[in-house]
């Protein structure tokens, strides 16, 4: 089955449990984590997670709703964007 890749990106203050919360939400919707990167940039915690939604029944809108609560609780900005836009913008 072809992959259906999305980038989940998180920006915010470094704190315990960010990856745990995100991974938990992703697992709940049967989404597979393909890769994960994190570092502190200009004083902020930044994480990018590449995830495959091919086996999930959820839509991107569903996942975003799932993350709204985590955003509020942990004071984070979480974006979910299909991989195609990164390919279009960063690869000729």
């Amino acid at each position: 089955m072809p992959k259906d890749l999305v980038f989940i990106t998180v920006i915010g203050k470094d704190q315990k449990g960010i990856i745990a919360h995100i991974s938990n939400a992703v697992f709940k919707h049967n989404i597979n984590i393909e890769d994960l990167n994190q570092k502190v940039m200009e004083g902020y915690f930044v994480m990018t997670m590449l995830a495959d939604m091919a086996d999930s029944k959820a839509s991107i809108a569903d996942i975003k709703r799932e993350f709204t609560e985590i955003e509020k609780q942990m004071d984070l900005r979480i974006q979910v964007q299909h991989e195609n836009i990164f390919k279009a913008m960063h690869r000729v």
Binding site: M41, T48, S59, I60, A88, M89
Partner: protein, 451 residues
């Protein structure tokens, strides 16, 4: 990972912090197949077609917004110039069709619908005249319908008889609406493109297929931020970084446009790469020019700075997409750009300098409030000046002026929402009356001898 963290975060930052968005997706719809001798059937054909496709546009655009995390600000429709489709109908047909378009766009949740207009660069048919005369009534009795006129072109010259009419018509529209706001929905052009996705001038040209999905991207905030990061580089280097940024945002626009067209099963038309300001902090073309090192837009150097900026945007855009079209210049709508507004307030920017900017890249005198008592012939003369720049330079120029009733130069006026707020500009009080009232058609310019 195939992408570096920096690459991913660059895209994310553009949308989260620098107002990168798709300014408009505009579906062009051919209405010629709706024509019927019976006006009631005609209206019902128009209503059905516009609402069906309008609803689909809004629905599919929403899904794509979610998928890519890029906001699509406006969902719009442009139609065949209305003057053409009502040629054989009775006197009040233009207004009847306008009201139908208004109702259809409201029911489909389309924010603006363009195409109430005519192409009269060489002369007016009876239907064209009737439509022009109906503009004040139409613009004061509908909410979402936008009007346009093409009154000049490089191949035909300028129709001065139409331009004479427009001075009075703009004053009439202004007098019937609060703060003259009806005039914000009406643009006059030279060399109007048939695939422009931006309002008020969008229409679905006669060379277009049944449908055409056109997209307007925008990112003054993104470009401003890249200029801010490159304070030290010379202008050659600055052009290079702007070009790269324009490439990226155009590619995103093209991706979204093509996918939306595919979902709607209509042909993809063009990406309009115009920089279009909003009143959000930092999302200003004036802000970019000022970040380049001009104290206030309008100061000497502004024309050169804007020329460099848009040339770089066009080079990046043309590399990114084979479908660049529409206007693809700079919008510097005074009331909709907080930086432009500040320049007017502080006296840095005059209407004459705005006119000069259109000679290199801007697409017109846009959203400019002028004193309510400006004589009709002076308004016609400003239109003629601006359009002659387009005619002679083989480019599009447009005019959207608002003669605000009861206001004089320097007064403050608030149009509300996205239309913004502004200060009334000072207009020369020397008369152009005898020149304008000569009328006739200014001949098409010679296109060799380019100096």
């Amino acid at each position: 990972m195939e992408y570096s963290l920096d690459e991913v975060m660059e895209t994310v930052r553009m949308t989260l912090y620098h107002n990168f968005d798709i300014r408009t997706v505009t579906l062009g719809i051919n209405l010629k197949d709706c024509i019927d001798p019976d006006i009631e059937s005609f209206k019902s054909n128009v209503y059905d077609k516009v609402t069906e496709y309008g609803k689909r546009l809004v629905n599919e655009a929403g899904k794509i917004e979610d998928k890519y995390g890029v906001p699509i600000i406006n969902k719009r429709i442009s139609v065949t110039p209305v003057s053409l489709i009502v040629e054989s109908c009775k006197e009040d047909a233009p207004i009847e069709i306008a009201k139908t378009l208004d109702m259809a766009s409201r029911d489909a949740n389309i924010d603006f619908i363009g195409g109430y207009g005519a192409l009269v660069q060489k002369g007016m048919t009876r239907s064209d005249s009737r439509l022009i005369d109906s503009l004040p009534e139409m613009l004061s009795s509908t909410e979402r319908v936008c009007a346009f006129l093409n009154v000049a072109s490089t191949l035909s010259g300028m129709n001065m008889d139409a331009i004479i009419k427009l001075g009075n018509i703009l004053k009439d529209i202004a007098s019937r609406t609060d703060n003259g706001i009806g005039c914000t929905k009406f643009a006059v052009f030279s060399n109007a493109p048939e695939d422009n996705p931006f309002m008020a001038g969008a229409f679905h040209g006669i060379g277009e297929p049944d449908f055409s999905l056109n997209i307007g991207i925008s990112g003054p905030g993104v470009v401003r931020s890249v200029v801010e990061k490159n304070r030290e580089c010379d202008l050659t280097g600055l052009s290079e970084v702007i070009k790269r940024t324009a490439f990226k945002i155009t590619r995103a626009g093209e991706l979204i446009g093509r996918e939306l067209a595919l979902k709607m099963e209509v042909p993809f038309g063009i990406v309009d790469i115009s920089l279009a300001s909003t009143n959000k902090v930092g999302d200003s073309v004036a802000g970019i020019v000022e970040m380049m090192g001009i104290e206030r837009i309008g100061a000497p150097g502004s024309t050169a700075a804007l020329a460099l900026l848009i040339d770089a945007v066009k080079k990046g855009g043309a590399m990114a997409s084979g479908n660049v079209g529409g206007l693809s210049g700079t919008f510097i709508p005074v009331s909709e750009d907080s930086g432009m507004n500040e320049a007017v307030r502080s006296g840095a920017l005059s209407i004459e300098k705005l006119e000069a900017l259109t000679a290199v890249c801007s697409v017109g005198l846009d959203m400019i409030a002028i004193p309510g008592d400006t004589p009709a012939e002076t308004i016609s003369a400003i239109i003629a000046d601006e359009l002659s720049i387009g005619v002679v330079n083989g480019k599009t120029t447009g005019v959207r002026l608002i003669p605000v009733p009861g206001k004089k130069a320097g007064d403050y006026v608030n149009f509300g929402g996205l239309l913004g707020e502004t200060y009334v500009m000072d207009i020369s009080t020397f008369s152009s009356r005898d020149f304008i009232l000569r009328g006739g058609r200014m001949p098409a310019p010679i296109t060799s001898m380019r100096n």
